[in-house]
């Protein structure tokens, strides 16, 4: 069944969408989109290290992204630079270092476009295992830290005062972001992973009135984006990542009309 590259891509993409749905909601709620971008950019460095040391790509990306997140926390504590400047510094320097390292690896043929924008042809059966088992683990851990993470997203002091340990939840959440980037980089590409996190969640925000609903709509939006995006990628021979993100954008635009309607109904 998984012999066909397209079926593999579809199964992989749907697995990714199940995880980016809920994580993306938290990225939007906690205003972490630029943070997600920074981790994704640093993933290139992870990929190049994986190639040069003949190491598993997902694992290597996961380690490098977590490392960048740790460095960010250290820089925030030790410098007076604002958070967005530090994020920009890390995002672009890790992307640049990654590309420079690629330049040195002349013995390997690199598909840089595939890395940046995703390549459905690249998804292997092993990747499917990584995505579905890794994805299930991410969701399970998210479920375990849910209460503390959600409460501190609403109000940090309430969560801390009432014993929910928000700092621990935040640290674990950062690792989960690094993990989803690691398992979805082949499908969507490192420049567009943040889009997969944010756009379905933003679409869901437009049409939901409770956190649970927003998460469910965000997952559904992600799944639809993957299906529409991959089919059109096959049809028009476009790169898979941009096609998926364009489909997500299409759904977002539709959700805007829903808002207009509800405002009209209220009046």
């Amino acid at each position: 069944m998984f012999d066909d590259f397209f079926i593999r891509a579809l199964v992989a993409g749907l697995g990714v969408a199940f995880v980016t749905g809920p994580l993306g909601c938290f990225v939007v709620w906690r205003r972490l989109s630029y943070f997600g971008d920074t981790l994704a950019h640093s993933a290139l460095l992870g990929v190049t290290i994986a190639y040069s040391l003949e190491f598993n790509i997902a694992l290597s990306v996961f380690i490098i992204s977590s490392l960048i997140a740790l460095i960010l926390v250290q820089l925030q504590n030790r410098t007076n630079l604002p958070g967005d400047a530090l994020l920009g510094l890390l995002a672009h320097s890790s992307l640049a270092v990654g590309l420079v390292v690629i330049g040195f690896l002349t013995f390997i043929r690199f598909d840089v476009m595939g890395l940046l924008f995703g390549d459905i042809l690249a998804v292997t059966v092993d990747d499917l295992y990584i995505i579905w088992i890794g994805g299930a683990l991410i969701l399970l851990i998210l479920r375990l830290i849910w209460k503390g993470l959600f409460a501190s997203t609403v109000n940090y002091e309430l969560a801390e005062a009432e014993g929910l340990n928000p700092d621990r939840a935040k640290a674990i959440f950062t690792i989960l972001i690094a993990a989803i980037i690691a398992i979805s980089i082949k499908m969507i590409g490192l420049l567009l992973i943040t889009g997969m996190l944010i756009i379905p969640a933003a679409m869901a925000r437009n049409i939901s009135d409770s956190p649970q609903k927003m998460i469910i709509y965000s997952i559904i939006g992600g799944l639809l984006s993957v299906i529409i995006g991959l089919f059109s990628s096959l049809e028009f021979n476009t790169p898979s990542g941009p096609s998926i993100i364009a489909a997500a954008l299409f759904l977002f635009v539709i959700s805007l009309f829903k808002i207009k309607q509800t405002i009209k109904l209220k009046n």
Binding site: V28, W29, R31, K147, F150, A151, T153, V154, N155, E157, L158, A159, E160, A161, E162, G163, L164, R205, S208, D209, S210, P211, K213, M214
Partner: protein
């Protein structure tokens, strides 16, 4: 104060410094089961900071704090909820602990906002939001309630009712309450122990002790002192609008 097992939180010579400026220092107090301790003091005197030290929100502190309970309900003074989050009153009620519908309804009814249960939190007025905050804090039946200006923005009649409710909760749940208020007038009747802050503990004791204290008078003026003591005598008469005095 005795250090028996009724003590819920105990601060010993605690203080907090931010950017080399002491926000508050040298605070010693303890909150016991069934007792209401009130913090008073002018703006910037370190009332909220003291509450945050007691709750363990502030970490790098001077001195010692010991908490003897994990069942805590907190009403913060300022709460900035980010409205990128679609949140109904119901979702907010189960924020830190899962409660059944009946418990939630009871708490919302007590503070008079049961009709807002399915409303979006972002659409509430300041006073309504304050009532929801209080309902959330009491719904989990805490052993320690920390209330930082719990009735700000609530209308005058509601304010009195809510203070009565706070007193009732303290009796019914036998929980300890750390109350912060600048509203000397309303608070004092129910308080067991008053701590007057001005960057440090300026004086403390029963409401009547504090009212007589000269430092307190210097801080709040002679009039405030009269407000406090007024609660210490029983009213056996009422004043009519015309100025007559009627016996009860």
């Amino acid at each position: 104060m005795s250090s028996n097992n009724n003590v819920l939180v105990k601060m010993n010579n605690a203080g907090y410094r931010h950017n080399d400026k002491w926000l508050v220092q040298g605070v010693s107090l303890s909150v016991e089961r069934g007792k209401i301790v009130t913090l008073i003091g002018p703006n910037g005197s370190g009332k909220s900071t003291t509450a945050k030290i007691a709750l363990g929100i502030l970490k790098k502190i001077d001195g010692h704090v010991e908490k003897y309970t994990n069942k805590i309900g907190y009403v913060p003074q300022k709460i900035s909820v980010d409205w990128t989050l679609p949140l109904r009153v119901y979702d907010f009620m189960i924020l830190t602990e899962n409660l059944d519908e009946k418990t939630i309804d009871e708490a919302l009814s007590l503070t008079g906002v049961i009709h807002l249960k399915d409303k979006s939190l972002g659409n509430l007025s300041g006073g309504e939001f304050q009532r929801v905050l209080l309902a959330r804090a009491i719904s989990k039946k805490p052993e320690l309630l920390v209330l930082d200006e719990p009735v700000q923005g609530v209308d005058f009649t509601g304010e009195i009712a809510l203070y009565e409710l706070i007193k009732k909760i303290s009796d019914e749940l036998n929980c300890g309450i750390l109350l912060i208020s600048h509203d000397l007038h309303t608070v004092m009747s129910a308080t067991d122990h008053v701590v007057c802050l001005n960057g440090h503990v300026c004086c403390s004791g029963t409401p009547i002790d504090v009212a007589k204290n000269t430092e307190y008078k210097a801080l709040f003026g002679e009039q405030a002192s009269q407000i406090l003591t007024r609660y210490e005598h029983k009213h056996d008469h009422v004043h009519t609008i015309e100025g007559e005095i009627k016996k009860n």
